[in-house]
Amino acid sequence: MPQNDIKISVKNLDAFYGKNKVLHNITMDIPSNQVVAIIGPSGCGKSTFIRCLNRMHEVVGGTITGSIMLDGEDLSKNDPVLLRRRVGMVFQKPNPFPSMSIFNNVAAGLRLNGVHNKKEISLIVEKCLKQAALWDEVKDNLDDSGANISGGQQQRLCIARTLAVEPEVILMDEPASALDPVSTSKIESLIFELKKDYTIVIVTHNMQQAARVSDRTAFFYLGELIEYDITKQIFLNPAKKQTEDYITGRFG
């Protein structure tokens, strides 16, 4: 990979909860404007890994050793609040703000980060809802509660909310696992659109999903990065036996 195409570079990353080490010596580069899928059995550290990338890991009291660079800058050297505006996150369970309208959900990140120009905000809200493929469904009900739409719509609302603060990287932690197949396929085509403008890291336990949406796939097992390669390579011709066992469904 040419050096300037690397968005995030992880080196010798160990992650801990207290004394409990859950990630062991992870080293991997995440290229710009690609979708990287993280797969692996439940509990292998996928969520922990992506939460290190926006320093949400430390919010629950976790710690790390090793280094993570974003555009060549060490994450630990900068303010986590500013970092999280550059590295957005979509969670497994849709979590729109229930006390806010659809419009205000998308505007929340802007307003609370100091943007107050009404016209600017409403332009951004519209743009983000369109990008999240939600605009047509909600444009007449922007003042309804963000919690009164379907689960799939809520998740797209959360994506729109994340887009509004104009991140460079979007982390998604099993964004479709709580959704029905129709909503899932909407989210998947959305990811395809978004990678033109953003670098995306998506955790999924759905192998077909990883194969469909990602350019590269990383297979984690018991806190270790077993294999990381072009997605096609991982699925058609895995180098490691464990990877092969996992993708063929022999364990997990």
Binding site: V81, N95, F97, A108, S145
Partner: protein, 284 residues
């Protein structure tokens, strides 16, 4: 077959008995409430007219008159109390739930619990020593401070409990948007919990509005019109206390009416809160 029916029968009768017990318990809880309301209404309604709200009390011995000063006085007292108790209570509750998992938080929580068990008359005495004595006279301010202190435990505990009900995922959503923690706490967590917090505030205010003992040493009472916070001020509860033990039949009557007005005042306050906190959205 017969066997089984017997058990079914047993189960059914147990059901009916338990059901009846709960209904009786519910009635036992509601009946006193109903009686209080009934008595106050039937005894107090006679004097309940516009005059009672806008006229001043008549000099001792003269019948008639109203309690305009006491109604305004009670509002001013709970206003001052609220100005102290609401912010302190909400901030303390927020601190306890968001940052209070340490020794200091534990201590604050413990002290708040103790405070909620302190008899209100003791809080009155404290306000008397701390405010009235240094200022050398009774005042609405001293009364308001006493009421404010009394509100703090209720508002603190409700705020803490309500904030704890806000799902952790919303805090994470806020932080992940690059919103600083303190802003996330105010704009997302408090905002999500605010209906429940408002209930706690209402409870605190209502309780304060019904307090008499702490006012006796602080706001004292005033037979004249006064809205000055540095002067003694009238209140409905102190009037109820004075008038109900007076030998004048007319004053006894007015005490009932004052009690009725107090109940009405608290109900209006309650409705107002309901209105302010009503949901903007159809289905929740």
């Amino acid at each position: 077959m017969k066997h089984r029916n017997y058990f079914l029968y047993r189960k059914k009768t147990t059901n009916v008995i338990m059901m009846s017990l709960t209904v009786i318990a519910a009635l036992a809880a509601v009946i006193p409430l109903f009686l209080i309301f009934y008595y106050t209404l039937s005894k107090g309604i006679a004097y309940l007219n516009l005059n009672f709200f806008i006229a001043m009390p008549k000099p001792v011995g003269e019948p008639g008159g109203g309690m305009a000063n006491a109604i305004v006085g009670t509002l001013i007292l709970i206003g001052i109390g609220g100005a102290i108790g609401i912010p302190v209570g909400i901030m303390t509750g927020t601190y306890l739930s968001e940052f209070g998992k340490n020794k200091f938080g534990f201590m604050v929580r413990f002290l708040t619990d103790v405070l909620s068990g302190v008899p209100s008359i003791v809080v009155g005495v404290v306000a008397y020593t701390m405010v009235v004595i240094p200022m050398k006279h009774f005042s609405a301010l001293a009364g308001g401070i006493a009421l404010g202190i009394l509100m703090i435990p209720t508002i603190t505990r409700t705020t803490e409990e309500m904030i704890k009900l806000v799902p952790h995922s919303l805090r994470e959503a806020g932080l992940a948007l690059g919103i600083p923690k303190w802003k996330t706490t105010i704009a997302i967590v408090l905002r999500t919990a605010w209906k429940g917090i408002a209930t706690g505030v209402l409870l605190g205010l209502s309780r304060a509005a019904g307090e008499t003992a702490p006012l006796l040493f602080t706001a004292l009472g005033n037979r004249f019109w006064s809205t000055k916070i540095m002067q003694p001020i009238a209140s409905l509860t102190v009037y109820i206390y004075d008038y109900s033990k007076s030998p004048f039949e007319d004053w006894n009557q007015q005490a009932w009416t004052a009690a009725l007005v107090l109940i009405i005042l608290i109900s209006v306050l309650s409705l107002l809160f309901r209105f302010v906190t009503r949901s903007k959205y159809k289905s929740d």
